[in-house]
C-alpha cells in the first residue's frame, strides 16, 4: 500500500468533479481525500500502483459532462495513512494558478422538475440549482471554486440544505450554490429607487405577470445583470421601450416560456433546438412561421428583418416569469443604448426607473456581468455562427496551447471589445465587453481585466494591441504597459482576424498555403489606408496581403460607416455619371458638401462592409443605419428572398474579369449593379447577384494562387446567406474554415492579436 497524488487541471471546478471522485473512491474502496486548489483538483490516496493507475483511468472516463480535463497526472508521494475518503475544503492560495473558470449553466431538467413540483421543498424557488446547473463565472470572486469565494458566501445553508450538501447520494452533494427558500436569496420589488413594496416571491411574481399584461416595462435582475421585459405582442409597450432606451430599430430578443412554444412558432432544426436547450442557453436567431405573427409585434421587435432572436429561460426566475406569463416576452439587457448591462444594485435603482415601471432585484451580488450570447445556424449548410460570446460560453478557454508560460495580454479592438490573456500556459478570451466608447464599458473592461489578473496573479510581460491610435484598447495597452513595465506590440487589425481563424482551426503549422478572406468594416492598414476587404496568403508563419478591394475615398470620422448613402457616394466619386436617385437621397446642401469632402478626401478604404452598405443604399434598402450592420442585414434579407425562390442558381457575377495583378475592381462591380438597377431588375435578384459576385471573387483568387485551404473572418461573415453560398459553391472544391467558438466580428481580434504574436507570425 503506497500513497499517491493525482492532479487534474482544466475546467474541473463547479462542474461536479469532486463528488464524482468521491463516489468513485468509495466504490473502489480507496482511502484519502480530494480538494480543489487554484491549480485544479488534487486527490491524495492510499493504493497499490496498479490500483492507482486504474483510478486515474476511471477518473478520465467518468469526468462530468461539463468538465474539460487538460491534464491528469499521477505522482508517488511520501507515505501517509488515511482512514476514510473525504472532500476537504481549504483556502489554499498556491501560485501559478491553472484552474479554469466554468461558465454559467442553464437550469438542468432535474431542477426544472423540482421547480414545478408542488410537493418539492424548492417549489417555485427562483434560485434553485444543483451541482449540474446554476451560476458560476458570474458569482466567482476568487479561486478555488468554494462557496466562500463566491457571491453565495453571504448565505448560510439551513439544516436541510446542509444535509443535502453532505449527502453523497444527493444531486446537491458539495453544491456550492445550494440554497432554498428558507436560507437563500430573496426577491425584492422596488416601486421607486428607495421603496421596497414586497419581498414575497409569489406576490412579486403575480405583480410581474399582471403588469406585463398591462403593457408595462419591468426590470429584473437575472444571472449576468438586469434585464428588461415587456409583452412581445404589445406594439405600444415595445415602442415605449425603444423610446426610453434610445434604441431606434436594433432588434430585440424574445423570451419564450419553453422549447415547445418556440417550436410552434419558428422553423427549428435539430441543431437550433440543441442550442436553445444547451447549458449555455444562448439567444438563437430563427425564422418565424406565419403563425408567429399572431403573437408577436414583429415590426416593432425587428424592423425589416427576417429573423428574430429567440431564447428560452436560462435560470429559474426567468422560467417562472416566462411560464406565468405564458406568452413571448421582449427580453433585453437593461441599459441605455451604447452602455453595458446594468448589474450593480445601486446603479439599477438610480438609472433603471427611467426605463422600467418597476424593478425586481435580489440580494445576491452579480460579480461578473454578462450579456446573453447570440448564435445562429445558417439555413442551408448549418454553419454555426456566434454573434456574441458571453453568458454560458465565457470564459471557457480556447483550445490553443501557447508555446510558453509567459504572461501575454492582448487588448482587442474598439466596438465589440474583448481581451485575451495567456497565463501559465492557458489562453482565456473574455466575454464580449461592450462598445468601448462608453465610460461604463471601459470601466467594465478594466474591472474584468483586473479580476482576471488578480485571479491568476498575472503580470503581463507583453501587451499586444491594434495599430489604430484612436481605439480605447490601443490607449489602454500603453497605459497598462507603463504600469507593468511591459512591452507593447501593435498588430494590424485584419492580420489579427486571420490569425484568430487560423488558430481556431489549428492551421498555424499547416504545410500548405492558406488563403485568408478577411472582410469587415474598418481597420487601420499598414499603408495608413482604411482596410476592410482583404485577401491574405499564409505560408510558413508568414502573412502576405495578396489582394484587396480597390480603394475608394472615405470622409473623415465615422460618417461613412453610419450612412450607407455616403458610402454609395464615396464609391461612385470617381464615376462619370452618377445614377439617378442617388442625389435625391440628400438635401442639396448635403449633396454638395459630401461631394466636396469626398473630392478632397485624403483617406481611402478597401472596406467590404462599406461596399455592402453602398449596395444596400443603391437598392433603396437603407440610407442611414441606427445600428452596426443594419444595411448589410437588409441586403442579406433581400438576397435570401431570391434564394428562397431560386436556390443558389445565379446567371453570373458582376465582376467578370479583372487585370491579372490589379485589385478587385470595386467600381466595375458597382457600375454593373447600377446597370441592372436602371434596367428594372428586381431588388432581390440584384442583392443575390451581388452576394454571388462576392462569393465568386473568393474562388477566383484561390484559383489564381492555387490555394486549397480558405479561412474566413471579419464582421461580413456574420452574414449567414453569404456563408451558405460560399459553402454551397466551394465545399467540394476547397477546404473551408470558419470561426468555431468565436464571433467572426471584432470580438475575435484580441485572440488573433495574441496568436499572431505568440506564434511568431510575420507579415
Amino acid at each position: 500500500m503506497e500513497t499517491f497524488h493525482i492532479h487534474v487541471n482544466g475546467i474541473v471546478q463547479g462542474v461536479g468533479f469532486r463528488p464524482m471522485i468521491y463516489h468513485l473512491a468509495k466504490k473502489l474502496n480507496l482511502k484519502g481525500y480530494v480538494k480543489n486548489d487554484s491549480n485544479g483538483v488534487n486527490i491524495f490516496f492510499n493504493a497499490s500502483a496498479s490500483e492507482a493507475i486504474g483510478f486515474l483511468k476511471r477518473i478520465k472516463l467518468a469526468a462530468p459532462a461539463k468538465s474539460k480535463i487538460i491534464a491528469a497526472e499521477l505522482f508517488r508521494v511520501p507515505d501517509q495513512i488515511y482512514f476514510d475518503f473525504t472532500i476537504r475544503v481549504e483556502d489554499n492560495k498556491a501560485s501559478g494558478k491553472q484552474v479554469l473558470l466554468s461558465p454559467d449553466t442553464a437550469t438542468c431538467p432535474n431542477c426544472l422538475a423540482e421547480l414545478n413540483d408542488a410537493k418539492n421543498r424548492r417549489y417555485r424557488y427562483p434560485f434553485i440549482t444543483c451541482t449540474e446547473c446554476g451560476p458560476r463565472y458570474s458569482i466567482m470572486n476568487s479561486l478555488p471554486y468554494e462557496r466562500h469565494n463566491t457571491a453565495m458566501q453571504a448565505f448560510t445553508m439551513c439544516k436541510s440544505c446542509r444535509d443535502e450538501y453532505k449527502d453523497i447520494n444527493s444531486r446537491r452533494f458539495f453544491s456550492q450554490t445550494n440554497s432554498c427558500t428558507d436560507c437563500g436569496m430573496k426577491l425584492m420589488l422596488y416601486n421607486d429607487a428607495t421603496t421596497i413594496i414586497s419581498t414575497d416571491t409569489e406576490t412579486i411574481l403575480s405583480r410581474i405577470k399582471n403588469n406585463l399584461q398591462q403593457g408595462e416595462i419591468i426590470a429584473v435582475k437575472g444571472i449576468g445583470g438586469y434585464l428588461l421585459f415587456c409583452d412581445a405582442n404589445n406594439a405600444q409597450a415595445i415602442r415605449t421601450l425603444r423610446a426610453r432606451k434610445y434604441r431606434a430599430t436594433k432588434p430585440f430578443a424574445i423570451l419564450y416560456p419553453g422549447i415547445k412554444s418556440v417550436q410552434r412558432s419558428f422553423e427549428l432544426n435539430d441543431q437550433e433546438k440543441e442550442l436553445l436547450k444547451s447549458p449555455a442557453a444562448p439567444i438563437v436567431l430563427l425564422v418565424p412561421k406565419p403563425w408567429a405573427l399572431n403573437e408577436l409585434a414583429v415590426k416593432e421587435i425587428a424592423p425589416g428583418l427576417q429573423q428574430l432572436g429567440v431564447m428560452v429561460p436560462n435560470n429559474p426566475l426567468l422560467e417562472l416569469i416566462g411560464n406565468d406569463f405564458g406568452k413571448p416576452l421582449i427580453a433585453t439587457s437593461a441599459n441605455i443604448s451604447g452602455s453595458p448591462i446594468v448589474y450593480d444594485d445601486d446603479d439599477a435603482l438610480n438609472y433603471l426607473f427611467d426605463i422600467a415601471d418597476f424593478v425586481v432585484s435580489n440580494n445576491r451580488e452579480v460579480i461578473i456581468p454578462q450579456d446573453d450570447s447570440v448564435v445562429q445556424v445558417s439555413k442551408y449548410t448549418h454553419q454555426q455562427l456566434i454573434f456574441r460570446r458571453s453568458r454560458g460560453y465565457a470564459p471557457s478557454f480556447l483550445d490553443y496551447r501557447p508555446k510558453t508560460n509567459q504572461c501575454i495580454l492582448s487588448t482587442g479592438a474598439f466596438l465589440k471589445s474583448s481581451f485575451t490573456l495567456s497565463v501559465n500556459g492557458n489562453v482565456f478570451v473574455s466575454q464580449f465587453l461592450g462598445s468601448a466608447e462608453s465610460f461604463e464599458s471601459q470601466q467594465m473592461y478594466r474591472q474584468t481585466l483586473k479580476y482576471w489578473l488578480d485571479m491568476y496573479e498575472a503580470k503581463p510581460k507583453i501587451i499586444v494591441t491594434d495599430m489604430h491610435p484612436g481605439y480605447f484598447s490601443h490607449k489602454y495597452a500603453f497605459e497598462f504597459a507603463e504600469k507593468f513595465d511591459a512591452k507593447v506590440k501593435l498588430i494590424q487589425h485584419h492580420e489579427a482576424h486571420f490569425a484568430a481563424v487560423l488558430a481556431e482551426n489549428k492551421l498555424i503549422k499547416k504545410e500548405e498555403p492558406v488563403l485568408g478572406i478577411i472582410w469587415d468594416g474598418t481597420g487601420l492598414g499598414t499603408d495608413r489606408n482604411i482596410w476592410g476587404g482583404e485577401f491574405f496568403k499564409y505560408e510558413n508563419n508568414q502573412m502576405d496581403r495578396v489582394n484587396h478591394f480597390n480603394y475608394f475615398p472615405t470622409i473623415a470620422g465615422d460618417k461613412t460607416a453610419l450612412e450607407p448613402r455616403i458610402a454609395a457616394l464615396c464609391i461612385l466619386a470617381e464615376s462619370e455619371h452618377q445614377p439617378s436617385g442617388l442625389k435625391e437621397k440628400f438635401t442639396i446642401a448635403e449633396f454638395n458638401n459630401y461631394h466636396a469632402l469626398i473630392k478632397n478626401a485624403n483617406l481611402f478604404t478597401s472596406s467590404a462592409g462599406r461596399i455592402f452598405d453602398a449596395v444596400a443604399s443603391l437598392l433603396g434598402l437603407c440610407d442611414k443605419q441606427s445600428y452596426e450592420g443594419e444595411a448589410a442585414m437588409y441586403l442579406q434579407r433581400a438576397a435570401a428572398l431570391y434564394v428562397d425562390e431560386n436556390a443558389f442558381n445565379m446567371d453570373g457575377s458582376y465582376i467578370k474579369e479583372w487585370e491579372a495583378d490589379g485589385p478587385v475592381p470595386t467600381a466595375i462591380m458597382i457600375r454593373n449593379i447600377l446597370a441592372d438597377v436602371a434596367s428594372g431588375k428586381s431588388t432581390y435578384y440584384i442583392a443575390a447577384k451581388f452576394h454571388y459576385s462576392m462569393v465568386c471573387l473568393i474562388g477566383g483568387i484561390a484559383e489564381r494562387l492555387s490555394i486549397n485551404h480558405i479561412c474566413f473572418s471579419g464582421g461580413v461573415f456574420q452574414n449567414a446567406l453569404l456563408v451558405d453560398w460560399i459553402k454551397t459553391k466551394y465545399a467540394n472544391k476547397y477546404q473551408l474554415y470558419f470561426h468555431i467558438n468565436l464571433s467572426p466580428g471584432d470580438e475575435n481580434i484580441s485572440f488573433g492579436q495574441l496568436v499572431y504574436h505568440e506564434s511568431g507570425m510575420k507579415s
Binding site: 452602455s339 438609472y351 466608447e437 462608453s438 491610435p469 469587415d520 473623415a556 470620422g557 458638401n593 452596426e628
Partner: protein
Amino acid sequence: LGHGSGGTLTSQLLDAGVFKLLENDLLNKKHDGAIFNLSGKVALSTDTYVVSPIFFEGGNIGDLSINGTVNDLAMCGASAKYLTLGFVLEEGLKMTEFWEVLLSIKAACDVAGVNIVTGDTKVVERGKGDKIFINTTGIGIMHPKANIDAENIKTGDKVILSGPLARHGITIMSHRQGLQFESTISSDTRPLNKIVLSLLDEFGEKIHFLRDPTRGGLATVLNEIATDARFGIDIIQKNVSVEEEVIGACEMLGLDPLYVANEGLFVTVVDPTVADAVLSRLKEWEYGKMASIVGEITTDHPRQVIMKSLIGGRRVVNMLPGEQLPRIC
C-alpha cells in the same frame, strides 16, 4: 505684390503703409527695436498664424493674429500692452488683400487696446508661402490678483465655458472644402482680455485656471487640464452650448463640436463659491449670453474627462490622436 529686391518694395510698404496705419509713439521712433519701461510681473507670448483661407466669415488672418496673442496673454492673467508684428508675404498677394488684413489688424488693436511697437516684413517667392503668414509676440502686465496655475485646481471646482462651441473651426473648414450651410456660420475671433481682467478684478485667486480652447477644441483643453491637475473632469453635455446651425453643420460633417477649434472662447476653472457669480458676470458680457457651467473637477477617474451624454450614458472624451480616422466597423 512683387518680390522686394534689396528690400525696396518692402521698406516702401512699411513706411507708407504699416507705419502710418498703426502709428503710436513707440512705433513712430523707428528704432531697430522698441524701447519702453514696464514694472512688475510681465507675461510674454508668441504665436504664428498660417490660417488658410486668409479671409473668412467673421474675420481674417489679421484680427486673428492680434486676438490670438492678446488672448494667450489673457489666459496667463495678463493684460496685453505691446505687440510685435512679423509678416511673411507670398509674391503675388494682392495689395488690396494686404491692406484689408492691415486694416483689421489696426481695428483689432484698437478694440483690444494694444499697440504694435515693432515689426518686420519679408516677401518670399511664389509657392514658398501661402499668401500671408503672420507672427505676433505680445508682452502684457500681470493682473495683481491673478494666480492662474493648474496646481490651484481642486476637487469640486466648477468648469465654466464662456460661449457656444465650434464656430471658428466650422467656418474655416467650410471655406477650405467649399461647404455650404443653411445659414452662414462665422468665426468667433475676438479679444478676451477685458472680460478676463474684469473677472480677475472681482474674483482674484478664486479664478484657478484659464485657457482658450483653440486648436483641438474643448475636448483637448479639458484633457490637458485633467492631465496637468491630475484630477478627473465630469462634463454634462446638456450644458455645453452649441448654436443650432453649428450643431446642424457638425452633424452633417460627422464632426464632434468638442474637437472643433474656437478663437473667442475661454474655459475657466473656478472655486465653487464664486461659480454662480462668475457665470452671471459672464452673461452680462456681450459675447457671454450662452456661457454655462459645463462641469466639475472630481477625484474620480483622474486624468480622464467623462461626459454625461444627452441620453444618459457616459462617454470618455479623449484627446484626439491627430486626424479623425474611422473607427467603427
